[in-house]
Symmetry: C2
Subunit: 233 residues, 2 copies
DNA sequence: TTCCAAATCCAACAAAAGTTCCAGAAATTG
DNA sequence: CAATTTCTGGAACTTTTGTTGGATTTGGAA
């Protein structure tokens, strides 16, 4: 249950202050694979730090389609927002594998923030970063086509780098679809598209990047570079 | 230049602490209609409070289509994120009308936060709220059809309530399109759709809500309630 | 190895969104 | 009040995304 805060993104500052207080505030939790950690809309479940395992944050719409916001592995943190304002959790969290986590309740966090300014400062940084991330995702959803989003996922640049734990390669088409906010079939099509555009290739069931530059172009401009047509005669 | 912080959303707390310090840190700025307040990607422009006028925050994609993130009137605040972490501005800000604003630079803000814990606390609240807002918008973009988003805009529920200053009625189709992240024609079509579904109606150039409940249903479930067909005979 | 469940491929189709184009209506302004 | 610009209406079309369903492949478990 020893946690080196220097390794926790955006909370490194805590390593240099009274960590004892923070550690006393935290409760250790264990979840078995598939367990619900908390549900969207439920009363604030507090601030979480993943110590071990894989956590999925997601939203679901009225028709049952789901949107994976992030796949988190140690030492990621989540539910900063609800923990900060004490409001309902803004998404669902489930343990994909067995998960160990530290949890600090909203009330404890409030107390802590008064006594530990370093925590408050860290928190502002973490929230600011989260915000930037969501703005980026919002633009991805408003402007980018699915092939373009897929390219971005494979490059796992900025937006996804922090948030998605697995290489796209290890994800099923179903899971990629949930991340991109679309359906399995569409992802399959897009994958095939990128493959015969020569940007990706498959060796067995393993998909890998062939043309990084081409992917970047697609991710940025939303267009595939014009393929040379093989002249008919 | 006197500002009553009790009226500024999420910064009411400041009214009860040393406001003098905050006010000394703030610079007064004036922008004429159409002026650029700051640009996306530029070095941090600081924390802004709208004292008068109308401000548009927007993003633009590589093809030149634009997405209006918010239309702000007094006493809204903006650019909290960049002001917090000192990073580049995450969007563009322009003065739609003449604008008066208070601006606190990142450096000054950092100093202030050390001496004024109330500001830090307010800031955490403001960032948390922003985050919730972006998560909501992200889901709108991933899950909702354009008619559904349009319905939501007309109800201007949660998501848009804080962010969009004007009634949809006063907006041109072009502006609505930029808010919903689509094009003018599509908005026109959707408007016509909602009108002959009996949810909206027009009196002259003024569009008004006829069936609030129907709009809510559309906003929530993404489907129009099945119209009764008039039997042919 | 054999079998099963999961994952994938692929085609054909349906629906939604984006594009192009042009004609009118409304507002603004000289 | 004309002239000009801005905004709206709407048709026809293209592209993208979503849906359905069946055929195949694959990786493990028995």
């Amino acid at each position: 249950m020893k946690l080196d805060w220097k390794q926790v993104p955006y909370f490194e500052g805590l390593a240099y202050c009274n960590v004892r207080l923070v550690e006393d505030a935290a409760r250790y939790h264990h979840y078995s694979a598939g367990a619900v950690i908390f549900a969207e809309g439920d009363r604030c479940a507090g601030f979480h730090v993943v110590l071990d395992g894989l956590v999925r944050l997601y939203r679901m719409n009225s028709e049952g389609r789901l949107h994976t916001l992030s796949l988190l592995r140690p030492l990621s943190t989540f539910n900063e927002v609800a923990a900060a304002d004490g409001g309902p959790n803004p998404f669902n969290a489930v343990a994909v594998t067995q998960v160990e986590a530290l949890v600090i309740s909203h009330d404890r966090l409030k107390q802590l923030m008064v006594s530990e300014p370093a925590l408050l400062t860290s928190y502002v940084g973490a929230l600011a970063h989260l915000n930037r991330d969501y703005i980026e995702r919002l633009e991805d959803m408003t402007f980018r086509s699915i092939p373009s989003r897929l390219a971005k996922l494979f490059l796992h640049e900025t937006t996804y780098a922090d948030q998605i734990a697995e290489t796209p390669t290890n994800l099923t088409q179903e899971e990629i679809a949930a991340i991109l906010g679309t359906t399995r079939e569409v992802v399959g099509r897009a994958l095939r598209g990128l493959m015969n555009a020569g940007l990706l290739a498959k060796r067995g069931r393993y998909v890998y990047v062939v043309d990084r530059h081409g992917l970047e172009l697609l991710a940025e401009t939303n267009t595939l570079p014009e393929r040379e047509r093989i002249p008919r005669r």
